[in-house]
């Protein structure tokens, strides 16, 4: 432990602390921009500079280690002048179209500019230097707003282990982009959107499809359906400044209905459907000597990662479509038939915490129901929040409402799909029961939690199942390498591309560094899902009455012919470099 003084206040902290951490201990806020705890510690933005008594110049508190007897000033005239100038510098080549920016009021640079009373034009305002790249179906890059904090680069290379983007050129010409300035979908980008939630400003955002949705809603000939992914209920409230981790399912359904959707369905239902198919596929692979370990396929970022980086593992991917894709297929087949609606008149909107889903809806391998897209538009949590604001709905004050029939009720297994380990646990609940009808356990706590890699081993009715769960693709890479080298042997692997799973997806509300660096978003958001699971009696997917209905009325049995056609898919090998 070392003792130092911060603004005259004495504090004793562990010796591996940075000044920033120590300051937090005495409730001194130091602003940051480039710093993301454990992810991006490069001291490049210089906003967090502080003065050390007896040392000329200023130091970056985000990385500068504490020392015994150190005297830190976080708010001296020199510090304030420097910070203000840093903000002025950033603004001098920032495209200050704040009024129309997707991050307005939620922008870390804007907040700092306000806090420090900055004259935004004192050092000029230059014309945009870069073309806006909106070529891919999911990502828009506006480098004229980029402040080169490199948080996106760290997210892509360190968290996800992909490195689809990087810093290019040097000096004033430095910019962030894919190799040879290629658009995201021409690179090895998997579309996870972690770069977007890492971005402190509006340089990165999802490619929005909100206008199509408004158009469909205004078209009386269209039957417009929305369904929401399991984690939306745990995060949408953040768009309306509600506490992180508030379950807003009732308000969410009410708001979507107010927007004018004909139906509001619960995607947790097709999460259950995925489990029915996937558990069946898994048992089949185990019993029939199929390719193992089987790997989940509900995360489109992960799937594309395998296609680019590990095509040799394509046979290991479950052939099950993701819950989103299954829902699209169900709505445009079963639901259309049952309600006598031409599937071409059905407009399906999914609300997913994910940007990769915007790519998934365009995959030809998932659109086999007819010559249309099964899911017409995939919206992120942020886009839905934006639509609700746009419609003038006072979200927090809404009365709770329930999902529409027949896709209303889901099992707890479907609910926890939104957190890392959730799919595995859901699958285990069903598979265990199928392997041993007397098996009563429904909690598989070993696969819960936000750790990057989790392993467990279960013996059910004489069958031993070794499982691994990874979230964050850099962690997935570790697991795959250990399988590849023969170091590890598993039967079943769950991967979610985003760290912590969908609750921390690239389509979720952007939280600023001042929150992310100190609050465990993943755990708090996931808790809302596990609480909802705990509150329901229906624990296993295959025991859901909706599943009963779907198989009886339409699909027959898991893995049957109709399932195979509508609920399963295939994959393609993609370039790695």
């Amino acid at each position: 432990m070392v003792t130092l003084k911060i603004n005259g206040k004495s504090v004793t902290v562990p010796e591996d602390y940075t000044i920033l951490q120590a300051a937090k201990e005495v409730n001194v806020e130091i602003p940051t921009l480039c710093y993301l705890k454990n992810i991006n510690c490069i001291a490049s933005c210089r906003v967090c500079v502080v003065e050390l008594k007896g040392r000329p110049g200023l130091v970056a508190s985000c990385v500068y280690p504490v020392a015994e007897g150190m005297e830190v000033l976080t708010n001296s005239p020199a510090v304030r002048a420097s910070r203000k100038m840093t903000i002025e510098m950033l603004l001098s080549n920032h495209n200050k179209k704040c009024l129309s920016c997707s991050r307005s009021t939620n922008c870390e640079l804007q907040r700092l500019a306000n806090d420090y009373n900055v004259d935004e034009n004192r050092f000029g305002s230059e014309a945009p230097r870069y073309d806006i790249d909106d070529v891919s179906p999911y990502l828009v890059r506006d480098n004229n707003k980029c402040i080169l904090c490199r948080r996106c680069v760290a997210a892509c290379s360190k968290v996800q282990g992909i490195g689809a983007i990087g810093a290019i050129a040097r000096g004033y010409k430095t910019h962030i982009d894919g190799a040879f300035e290629k658009s995201a979908d021409e690179t090895t980008c998997v579309g996870c959107g972690q770069c977007i939630v890492a971005c402190p400003v509006g340089a990165l955002r999802e490619k929005t499809n909100v206008d199509y949705v408004w158009e469909a809603l205004g078209n009386p000939d269209k039957h417009v359906i929305a369904f929401t992914a399991p984690s939306i209920k745990a995060t949408l409230g953040e768009c309306f400044d509600m506490p992180i981790g508030t379950n807003v399912e009732g308000e969410m359904v009410a708001a979507i209905r107010q927007l004018g959707f004909d139906k509001v369905f619960n995607m947790d239902v097709t999460a259950d459907l995925t489990i029915c198919e996937e558990a069946n596929e898994f048992i089949g692979r185990v019993r029939n000597g199929g390719t193992l370990p089987m790997m989940t396929s509900c995360c489109p970022g992960w799937v594309k990662f395998v296609e680019h980086q590990y095509p040799e593992f394509i046979p290991n991917l479950s052939t099950c479509k993701s819950p989103q894709a299954m829902f699209g297929a169900v709505l445009k087949s079963y639901y259309a038939e049952k309600n006598n609606i031409d599937p071409k008149d059905i407009f399906v909107v999914s609300v997913i915490p994910c940007t990769a889903k915007k790519f998934e809806v365009t995959r030809e391998q998932v659109n086999k129901t007819g010559d249309f897209q099964d899911v017409d538009v995939s919206l992120t949590t942020r886009e839905l929040g934006n639509m609700i604001k746009n419609a003038g709905i006072k979200f927090a004050e809404l009365d709770k409402e329930e999902f529409d029939n027949p896709f209303e009720i889901a099992s707890g297994a479907g609910i926890i799909f939104g957190a890392t380990g959730g799919v595995m646990e859901a699958a285990l609940r069903t598979a265990a029961k199928k392997l041993d009808p007397n098996f009563e356990g429904v909690e598989f706590k070993e696969v819960r939690g936000t750790e990057g890699v989790k392993e467990a081993e279960y013996t059910i009715n004489g069958t031993t199942v070794k499982v691994a769960v990874a979230s964050g693709l850099a962690n997935a890479r570790k697991v795959l390498e250990s399988v590849k080298s023969g170091e590890k042997e598993y039967h079943f692997i769950e991967v979610m591309a985003c760290p912590g799973g969908c609750i921390n997806g690239g389509g979720q509300p952007c939280q600023s560094d001042s929150v992310k660096n100190y609050v465990d978003l993943k755990t708090i958001r996931a808790k809302a899902l596990y609480d909802a699971d705990a509150a329901t009696d229906l624990k296993r997917s295959h025991e859901s009455p909706v599943m009963d209905m779907l198989y009886k009325e339409y699909f027959g049995e898991p893995g049957g012919e109709k399932s195979h056609h509508l609920l399963h898919t295939s994959y393609v090998e993609r370039h790695k470099y």
Binding site: A43, S44, G57, T86, S92, N93, F123, R170, K173
Partner: protein
Amino acid sequence: MLTIQELENIKKSKEKLVAVRHHRSGNVPNESGYKYQVLVCGGTGCTSSGCKNVVAALKEQIAKHKLENDVKIVTTGCFGLCALGPIMIVYPEGTFYSAVKAETIPEIVEEHLINGNPVRHLLYQQTVCDDGSIKSLDETDFYKKQLRVALRNCGVIDPEDIEEYIATGGYSALAKVLTEMTPDDVVQTLLDSGLRGRGGGGFPTGRKWAFAKASVSDQKYVCCNADEGDPGAFMDRSILEGDPHSVLEAMAIAGYTIGANQGYIYVRAEYPVAVKRLLIAIEQAEKLGVLGDNIFGTDFSFRIELRLGAGAFVCGEETALMTSIEGHRGEPRPRPPFPAVKGLFGKPTILNNVETYANIPQIINKGADWFASMGTETSKGTKVFALGGKITNVGLVEIPMGTTLREIVEEIGGGVPNGKKFKAAQTGGPSGGCIPAEHIDVPIDYENLIALGSMMGSGGLIVMDEDNCMVDIAKFFLEFTVDESCGKCTPCRIGTKRLYELIDKITSGKGEMEDLDKIKELCAYMKSTSLCALGQTASNPVVSTMRYFMDEYIAHVQDKVCPAGVCKELTSYEIIPEKCRGCTLCARNCPVNAISGKVKEPHVIDKEKCIKCGMCMNNCKFGAIVKK
């Protein structure tokens, strides 16, 4: 494996060959076995001037006259007097031929090497006295005040022959360290010597080594910064080209001291001659056994690898250099952790520059006291400067610390040519500042330069005369740093650019007084807040020119005048009709056809078209064109 005795034997066998070359006065008995030794400078400067043709012609003539056993031709590194190249010295007399042409070689060979009469009209004229006698090179103005420590072997030995290096005592320091000294002894010797880093900041070398020695690790590294990036400086290049083994030997000593067995030299790819000589030197050293496993039979092993820079000034910064060796974009890392704790590949590392290393074998051999006896109170030893710009003797000089700028400029450098007035000297390159005429008598050492707002830097010393505009000079250096900023941190990436724009505004005649305040504010900001030394010092050329030449800034801003007549937007060319003879030479040389007029009638310049290139004025034989 080479033993110390064998090293001694090599030394003895070659000592006499080389001894004669160390004494330019020719008063040492010639026991080299040759009647004459002809040393031709093979440095980059002389190579550019055509020394290869000279060597070829020499060989041809020697063969023709069958003088192979009497005359030895040696291609050396830089002598320092680059402006006089190609340069050739004939020993034992030490007669100095300058601007040698291949055509004159037959005359030199016949007259001098065969008949024993130096060809006076081809000698460097400063060495020919009025009475016809020939002076030693050491007595010329250029060399008189110099003291060669780091450059001791440059221009003396054949850098591609390890035995010639050994003949001058080479590798005996390493032998001494390995067999007689503990690592602590080495550190203490360096501390006592007072040696400070010659690459920029002047950090005490002994302390640096002590830190790295104290770090505990399974692997440590010794790095050499040979990425000499200061535009206008070539000290390190000359040492690498002229005496590469001195660097290798010092690195091995460093390896022994801190406990490293691997060294890296990061050298500019733009220095092909240096790269070639380093490769040869490493190969010869490994072959002989002074690098490699179990050197001199001890359990110390040391290897050196070369890594080529690829054109990034920032890689002169220590953490950026290491990041670059690691194969990444050469972006600096925040310190701490310092390289001595966590450097190359995350391991404890020391990094010194070429000139620093070149001093070390001699400090070991001659002792700390010897080194500490040279220089000033805080700055010991000598410093090499690359003297350039508006100065007669452009070249490389090594002077004891404490020599005054006046001695360098007026005596060694031969003053400012063309009768112009000395205005300022810029040291430290883009990180440094200028020293104006009023401070020309300041003794040069680390502290004095910093007090004047400049810095030692790596040793570029550019002389400026009254024709240089100081605002323009500041702009020149800023343009350089804008280009060379790595782009990582905000103050350097954007600050240099905004600063450049403000200065550009001033040199374009659009400056306002409040811009000067903004400039000062930006300079202070970049200095306090930038991540690395490049950004922290990038504003120095501006700060220092503002400190001494504020009147020039104000003239640009308020009077819209460039007093030196450099800034194009603030100058115009006019033809004085009374002086113009209508020869049409100006019109014919104007690249944009801005000059018109009939033959034998006064011409006029169309100011709209004129791009102010000055071609007309340069070509006018009648002084009829003036710049206003």
